[in-house]
């Protein structure tokens, strides 16, 4: 009889230890998920991180952060021409409203641009300096101005204020073509579907 009790005790201990092990694992998983959750940014920050930060204001807001706030309050996500389709795709992921194309009222998608001042024509009016959202134009009153090219987002806000039209938007040198490309799946019969995923 005693042996039988021992057996039961043994079984109980075994079951309990298995249970404790599993519970511990579950707690670890919970901790991990909690950390992930805590690491998440606020909604506006997250939307803002998807916007291209050109601060061009073509969306109708004064900069990318105000537009991000507007999106979080339910504004349309297709108002950002510098970001173009890639930005919309990221935002679609986020706000769960698929099927938006870029709204042409706000402009068309363009390759990256940069402003350049034709310096001999500049009269030093400082209007572009006031218009630049990034303080990327150097110069003083009645002195020649110039654009810090590395800081210029190509937002074109300085073009309109210039009284003498001496600012040009130029294409940035095209980025180097990709060297390594993801291989194409070859077993599609008509190559209509690109990948299996």
């Amino acid at each position: 009889m005693e042996a039988f009790i021992d057996k039961q005790l043994f079984q109980f201990v075994a079951a309990a230890s298995i249970f404790i092990f599993l519970a511990h694992r579950l707690l670890l998983v919970r901790k991990y998920l909690r950390q992930e959750y805590l690491a998440q940014k606020s909604v506006v920050d997250q939307i803002n991180s998807y916007l291209p930060q050109t601060q061009c204001g073509r969306c109708g807001y004064k900069g990318c952060l105000p537009y991000a706030r507007a999106i979080s309050r339910g504004d349309a996500i297709n108002k950002c021409p510098p970001g173009g389709e890639p930005t919309i795709l990221k935002l679609v992921d986020f706000v769960n409203e698929p099927g938006f194309r870029l709204n042409p009222a706000h402009g068309v998608f363009q390759p990256p641009l940069a402003a350049i001042i034709r310096e001999d024509e500049c009269i030093g009016c400082t209007k572009c300096i006031q218009a630049c959202p990034l303080d990327a134009i150097l110069g003083g009153p009645k002195l020649m101005h110039t654009v810090i090219s590395s800081e210029c987002t190509g937002c074109d806000l300085c073009i309109d204020p210039c009284p003498v039209d001496c600012i040009d938007l130029v294409l940035l040198p095209t980025p180097k073509p990709r060297y390594w490309l993801t291989p194409k799946i070859q077993n599609s019969r008509f190559n209509t579907l690109e990948t299996d995923l």
């Binding site: 075994a14 998983v29 991990y32 690491a39 073509p177 990709r178 060297y179 019969r189 299996d196 995923l197």
Partner: protein, 374 residues
């Protein structure tokens, strides 16, 4: 610059997916032959029917998905699923059992998800479970020719009349055998010894298990023992060929063995069964070596594989002993499949030069906020 250059390496090892799948089928052959020897042609008919249906469904699905039919059929993955499914369903099942099962397995469990490599669950076991839920009666009665059950020394199951009976059972509309199919079903339903022990709730069968019996006597107990040994050797062949790794089968077998030793009490409850019965009295071996190791739906890291095997072993034992379903491999494997992505995510090996398996996520936190706006 028009295209990307071809990347190194320029040499390749001899393994190919097509061959791996063929090897798995080859490793099943000992088990299949022993099963056929004992349970008659029903097993073989099942396997062949499943293969035929599986390949047709695969071809149909592939052509719907606009892929190369020949190239995808050549990867033999449908073949493996069909063989495993054919071995799982009871011999003597009517033809529509493999038809529906393979249809579900190939079309829904496999191609709906994107074909080979994308299916989260083992297709063969999905098909099996689908049938088990829909047709419990057909899926739990094992029909073997009448001579086999009694300890008669004639080898009726593999005689011509046995073949006739098997075909009659599979295709009830044919009139091949002198027996009517009803007659066969009435007299010849049986299950694995494990199930019998569970249903009977007595130690009669266990007693029979412990008595000396010659290896080739036609009792269902020794039959299952030998079938399992056949699958065990098939599995060892796969291990030696390095097609499967030892982690999953070892974990499954070790867990089942440990649990059955823990809970086995000779005088007490018989539903627990002996450890030997658990390992060799049912489908444990084919489950551990062939079904649980299906690479697509299993965990892939070594630690993950061990835990995956343990989960399957635990589920096999639990469902068998405390659950309502009679055989548990399919349920256990699907439960394991559920856990596999999570295991792969959490149980990664430690990367060279890192303290953990997880390399730091890029750009976490630092957002460059000056705190000046708003």
């Amino acid at each position: 610059m028009t295209s990307s250059p071809q990347s190194s390496p320029f040499q390749h090892a001899r393994h190919s997916t097509n061959n791996i799948m063929l090897m798995v089928v080859a490793a099943c052959i000992p088990g299949i032959s022993i099963s056929t020897w004992y349970f008659g042609y029903g097993i073989l008919v099942n396997v062949l029917l499943s293969i035929a249906f599986a390949l047709s469904f695969e071809a149909a699905a592939v052509s719907l998905r606009e892929r190369h039919i020949q190239a995808i059929l050549a990867d033999n993955s449908a073949l493996v699923a069909a063989v495993l499914f054919g071995l799982a369903i009871p011999p003597g099942s009517p033809w529509w059992i493999p038809f529906l099962g393979m249809g579900f397995a190939i079309l829904i469990a496999k191609h709906i998800y994107g074909g080979l490599g994308q299916n989260p669950f083992n297709p063969a076991m999905c098909g099996y479970l689908f049938l088990l839920l829909c047709f419990p009666l057909e899926m739990t009665s094992w029909h073997i020719p009448s001579d086999a059950l009694s300890d008669v020394q004639e080898f009726a199951p593999i005689s011509l009349s046995g073949l006739q009976q098997s075909l009659q059972l599979s295709f009830p509309f044919l009139n091949l055998s002198t027996f009517s199919s009803n007659e066969l079903i009435d007299g010849l339903a049986m299950a694995t010894p494990l199930i019998e022990s569970k249903l009977a709730g007595t130690s009669k069968l266990l007693a029979a298990w412990q008595t000396d019996q010659s290896m080739f006597s036609r009792s269902s107990e020794t039959a299952w023992e030998l079938v399992n040994i056949g699958y065990f050797f098939g599995g060892c062949f796969l291990l030696l060929q390095r097609i499967i790794s030892w982690h999953i089968p070892a974990a499954v077998i070790a867990t089942v063995l440990t649990l059955s030793i823990l809970f086995y009490s000779p005088g007490g409850y018989t539903i627990y069964g002996t450890p030997y019965l658990h390992l060799f009295g049912s489908a444990t071996m084919i489950g551990a070596f062939f079904i649980a190791t299906d690479p697509v739906s299993a965990a892939t890291t070594s630690k993950g594989k061990l835990v995956y095997g343990m989960i399957i072993g635990l589920s096999i034992y639990s469902v068998r002993v405390w659950g309502n379903y009679l055989d548990s491999i399919a349920i256990a494997v699907l439960l394991g499949n559920f856990s596999a992505p999570l295991l792969d995510h959490f149980l990664r090996p430690r990367i060279y030069g890192h303290k953990k398996g997880v390399a730091g996520p890029a750009g976490k936190g630092s957002d460059g906020d000056l705190g000046m706006d708003s």
